[in-house]
Each structure stands twice: as C-alpha cells, then as structure tokens.
C-alpha cells in the first residue's frame, strides 16, 4: 500500500519526509560537519577534496559546488542543513531563501517588506494565478 503524501502538489515546495531524508542523508551530514570551524576552513580551502570525503552522489556534490540549493533539495537536502553552507559562505538566511526563487536579492527583500509572497495562485501546482 502506498503512503499518504498529500503535499506532492504544492507548487515550488519539497517536503522533507523520511524518503527524501534517506536520499539526502550524506549530503545533510556533510552540511552538519560545517558547524565546526576547522571543517569550514578545510572545505573552503578545497571544496572538491572535502566533498570527496563523503559518500555523496556526484550530482549532490556538483549541486553543492554550484550552490544550487533547489537542486540540493531535489536530491534530498534539507534547508536547515543546507543553511550551514550559506553560513560558511557568509550568507544570511534571507539571501539563501531568495536564491531559490529566481529573484534578485533586492527583489526578494522588497517582496518580503511588502508583505511576502501571496498564497493566491500558489496553493496547487498548475493552479491559475
């Protein structure tokens, strides 16, 4: 019997469930390692070499190198873990969130100041805006 996942049709949203967590385990644990200053320094010195110490897929490693957070999430990354990469890069949470929306940093910040993204037209995939 298949599991109940009613959240699969929310647009622009990936729910980090047990299945995604299974796929992203090493990617997220790599991110977690960046909580230590010495690991941040080693990662910054040679990102590729540091990533190669982890049993991550090549796609996951490339997504990290590209700082493509949407891709990281599609491959099992969770935003609270991925935030450690942003912290290592000296980015704020708002800069990270904005980077996934296709907007510039300024456009995203302005949208938030004006009350954020509206839910209208954003509840179901394929819904008319």
């Amino acid at each position: 019997m298949s599991l109940d996942k009613p959240y699969m049709n929310v647009p622009g949203t990936t729910i980090f469930d047990a299945d995604m967590s299974r796929q992203g385990y090493h990617l997220n644990q790599f991110c977690m390692s960046l909580m230590k200053a010495e690991n941040r320094a080693r990662f910054k010195a040679n990102e590729r070499a540091y990533l190669d110490e982890w049993p991550m897929s090549e796609e996951q490693k490339q997504a990290v190198l590209d700082r493509d957070l949407n891709r990281c999430i599609a491959l099992g990354g969770n935003i609270y873990f991925l935030a450690k990469i942003g912290a290592t890069d000296g980015k704020s949470f708002q800069q990270m969130a904005g980077s996934m929306t296709g907007m510039t940093e300024e456009e995203y910040r302005d949208m938030m100041v004006k009350g954020g993204r509206s839910v209208e037209g954003n509840r179901y995939t394929g819904e008319k805006k």
């Binding site: 929310v10 949203t13 990936t14 644990q29 969130a97 954020g116």
Partner: protein
C-alpha cells in the same frame, strides 16, 4: 503544588536574534518587531515565573540526521547556546530544572507519550530568540528553563492533535509536582513562512490571524487541522505552529477550568522571511 499561570506564544526567527545581538533594534526595519514585545518584557518583570517550560524546535543543531526524536525533554542542569555556523549568540547560559523535568518526563511517559530524555544538548535560536524577546537582553535569564524539543524538520511531524493532547499531559504532570512553583509554558515557531524552493517567501496574513483567533477561542477544533493545511496555507516551515498547540493544551479551559484572559496579541510582517506572531494567555 506547582501550577501553570500563563502561556506565551512567539515566533523564533534567527534574524531577530542577530538584530538584537548586533544592536539593530532601533532600525526602522526592526523597531516595530521589538515594540511588539515591550508588553511581554514589562509583564514578565511583574510575573517572575519560577520555571518556563519552553516548547521549541531544533534546526539541525543539536540533532542531526543521526537521531530524530519526535519529542525530547531536556532534563539537564544547564544548556549552552549553540554555534549555528555564525558563532554562538552572546546570551546567557540556559539553566535547567532537572528535578521538575524528571518529574514531568516520568508522568508524561506514563500517560503514553514516548518522550526522549536529553541530558546533554546545545540550544539554538529556536530556544534563545524567544528568551531574548520576552526577557530582554539580560546578564542571566531570570528563571530556570525546561527545553522541550519537537521534530518539525523531518516529516511526518507530530499532528496538531497529538501536540494538543501532549499539552494536557504536561499540565497534569506539572500540577502534580509537590512544590508551589509558578510555571509558564511557551509555544514557539511560526507563523507563516517558507524558506525553501521557488515558493520561498510565502506569507499568509489572513490565515495567521485566523489561526490566532482559533487558538484563543477554539483550540480543540484547531488541533484537528491536518498538516497539509499548514503547508499549503502557511508555507512548508509554517508547520512549526503545531508546537503552539502543546502550550495551548496545557491551559485551564481545555482541562475543565475557565477561559484564559488574552493579555497581549501582536502580529507583524516581515522579520526576514517570516511573519511574526505573539500572544500571551493568562489562566484565570
């Protein structure tokens, strides 16, 4: 006997902590946020709670993917503010209340809630930002804190119903404790926000305010709201709001007593990516 005098609800946005720590509270962007907490600060100075039972979630800080407890109660003597990658927040160490925490753990587990017991844990912004907002910038937190961590990072997270029933069990535990302690229970996180994907930045002012209304007037009904409604209407990270139902379930009116008094209600958009909500309910 110990008793629960009030419940406090608040968002726990990390950028609020950063704004406080970097001295930005008077900036035009932040000033309205902090103004919304002035009441709480003055009120707490008068209230002087003996213990705060603080419901929060860890954000990949103390708990990685190695272990994901659904409900974890802190029974330690103290907790260190964590380094979340930007360096630890310059806030006081959090002192626990091991004796009351152990009592609650025993009682709540006997009431069929399988808590994880945590004797060593660093606490992140989920716990320290609410403390800063409500107690202000102090040299020492005014009372012991019992941290209660809820998994809202990996789905499925506990249902609103489960959280609400857990709040009732926590109340029963606190009220059977043999010392005359004034205990507050805080529910933190939310309100609407989404931090990931192309839909990041979602805010739903109308839904948030309806949530606050129903939390005050019909928490029992609100507890039946399915997860998908939180996700669709309040964003993927808006799911944190289930934690507010733990605090609400511990109030008198849903345990045979009187309606609480609404002492303060505040709502503001935005703080970084998030809608800020704050409520204080007092048992009467």
């Amino acid at each position: 006997m110990a008793h629960i005098s009030a419940s406090v609800y608040t968002s726990h946005v990390p950028a609020i902590g950063a704004a406080l720590d970097l001295g930005k509270t008077q900036e035009a962007y932040w000033q309205p946020v902090f103004e919304g907490y002035e009441f709480a600060k003055q009120w707490e100075k008068r209230e002087k709670p003996d213990v705060v039972f603080l419901v929060f979630n860890d954000h990949a800080t103390a708990f990685s993917l190695e272990m994901i407890p659904t409900f974890a109660i802190g029974t330690a003597a103290e907790y260190t503010p964590a380094d979340e990658g930007w360096g630890p927040r310059p806030v006081p160490k959090v002192m626990g209340h091991p004796k009351l925490a152990a009592h609650i753990a025993q009682s709540v587990i006997q009431d069929d809630f399988d808590l994880t017991i945590v004797n060593k844990m660093d606490v992140d912004h989920g716990l320290t930002v609410p403390l800063s907002l409500v107690f202000g910038q102090v040299d020492a937190w005014p009372c012991p804190i019992i941290p209660f961590a809820v998994n809202v990072v990996q789905y499925p997270v506990p249902s609103g119903r489960r959280c609400f029933m857990l709040g009732k069990a926590i109340r029963k535990a606190i009220e059977s404790y043999d010392e005359p302690l004034n205990v507050q229970i805080w529910g933190t996180g939310g309100m609407s926000h989404q931090l990931q994907g192309p839909r990041a930045g979602l805010i739903n002012r109308e839904w948030d305010n309806a949530f606050l209304d129903q939390l005050i007037n019909d928490p029992e009904g609100l507890s039946k709201l399915p997860h998908i409604d939180y996700v669709r209407e309040a964003g993927s990270e808006g799911i944190e709001l289930v934690m507010w139902l733990i605090a609400r379930g511990a109030m008198s009116d849903v345990n045979g007593g009187h309606k609480p008094k609404v002492l303060h209600r505040f709502y503001h958009v935005p703080a970084s990516n998030t809608a800020v909500g704050h409520l204080i309910l007092e048992n009467t």
